[in-house]
């Protein structure tokens, strides 16, 4: 999947191709969801941010300056929607505010550990041992086009140029952890 392919899907969806739209959702639903979850929002708000982001893409299908970069566009839009929602929350305190709880990304749910152990336990354990910043960066680099700085930079709102050394370091650390003898399980 290259930028060109993503651009073709956008153009096809703009012309009424429902299957192209679903292909875009398949490719990027988790990116939008991941960006939204990076903020201190509860499940209902994360769902709203995701929905608003996709509605805005529908609205802008034929207006994107660079359809090939739709992944980065979605990451930026999800980030903006989340920040706008947080701003409203702060300015208009409501009962909802009380149920907003920070998501502790460092503590996977028990079922997540279970799933991961059944699939690729070795890689999962190595990934979980990475510094949080590396985990955050790498989880944004897995989207098509794989390893692209554009999406991660948009999601994190940092200059693209700042990510090169981090990507190299995080990947090297992950590889080093993978090459270690069987991981010491902590309980």
């Amino acid at each position: 999947m290259s930028d060109d392919d993503a651009g073709q899907l956008v153009r096809a969806a703009a012309n009424g191709d429902q299957a192209a739209w679903e292909a875009l959702v398949d490719r990027y639903a988790r990116l939008v969801y991941t960006v939204a979850r990076g903020f201190r929002l509860d499940d209902a708000d994360v769902a709203d941010v995701s929905q608003a982001t996709w509605l805005r893409l529908v609205e802008n299908l034929d207006k994107l300056r660079d359809p090939g970069s739709v992944g980065a566009w979605l990451a930026t839009t999800a980030r903006r929607e989340a920040l706008a929602l947080l701003r409203n929350r702060w300015e208009v305190p409501s009962p909802d505010f009380a149920r907003s709880e920070p998501i502790d990304e460092s503590q996977p749910e028990p079922w997540q550990r279970l799933v991961a152990e059944e699939t690729d336990a070795e890689l999962w354990h190595a990934y979980r041992q990475l510094p949080i910043r590396c985990q955050e960066l790498l989880r944004l680099l897995v989207f098509e086009p794989v390893g692209s700085y554009a999406i991660a930079a948009a999601a994190l709102s940092v200059p693209i140029g700042s990510l090169g050394p981090s990507r190299a370091r995080c990947l090297a650390t992950l590889r080093a952890l993978l090459n270690q003898p069987a991981p010491q399980r902590r309980t």
Binding site: R56, V58, D62, W124
Partner: protein, 153 residues
């Protein structure tokens, strides 16, 4: 100097990590379904009114702070005040220039679309709107529909 290109083995590692995260960190089905369903709100034939201003705390109504939103299209400006009433929202709006119109609020979460008529002075009110993504659709006497940008109320 670091090379910006990924090595094949780096790319393979990221692809492997991607499939792992897809399982561990999967998107709830309802969230995915909402993303797919967003496409049904495509309205290429309507004019888009852009959100040009968003202000909070401009008015104090029953202890809750209202938001003022201004949407602008070529032919019309739509100003709305969004007032929280318990866990629902009241939308009080003004069309500029003043004119009668049909005004509907569309929300992906609800099956029915609520509408009202703006009076001769372009004023309208929509009660009992749910918080969440929404847009207003204005149908003027002499033009096609004008949709506001999707905005999370």
């Amino acid at each position: 100097m670091s090379d910006d290109r990924l090595t094949t083995s780096d790319e393979e590692l990221l692809v492997r990590l991607g499939s792992l995260l897809a399982e561990v960190d999967s998107v709830p089905e309802s969230v995915r379904a909402a993303a797919v369903a967003s496409y049904s709100w495509r309205s290429p034939d309507s004019e888009l009114a852009q959100l040009v201003e968003s202000m909070s705390g401009a008015a104090e109504v029953r202890g809750d702070e209202a938001r003022l939103l201004t949407f602008r299209a070529d032919s019309i400006t739509i100003e709305v005040e969004v007032i929280p009433v318990r866990d629902r929202l009241r939308i009080v709006g003004q069309l500029v220039p003043p004119q009668p119109a049909r005004v509907q609020v569309e929300q992906p979460g609800s099956d029915s679309t609520v509408g009202t008529d703006a009076d001769g002075l372009g004023r309208f009110m929509l009660d009992d709107t749910a918080p969440g993504p929404a847009r207003l659709v204005c149908t003027l006497a002499d033009s096609g529909p004008i949709c506001t940008e999707w905005t999370t109320l």
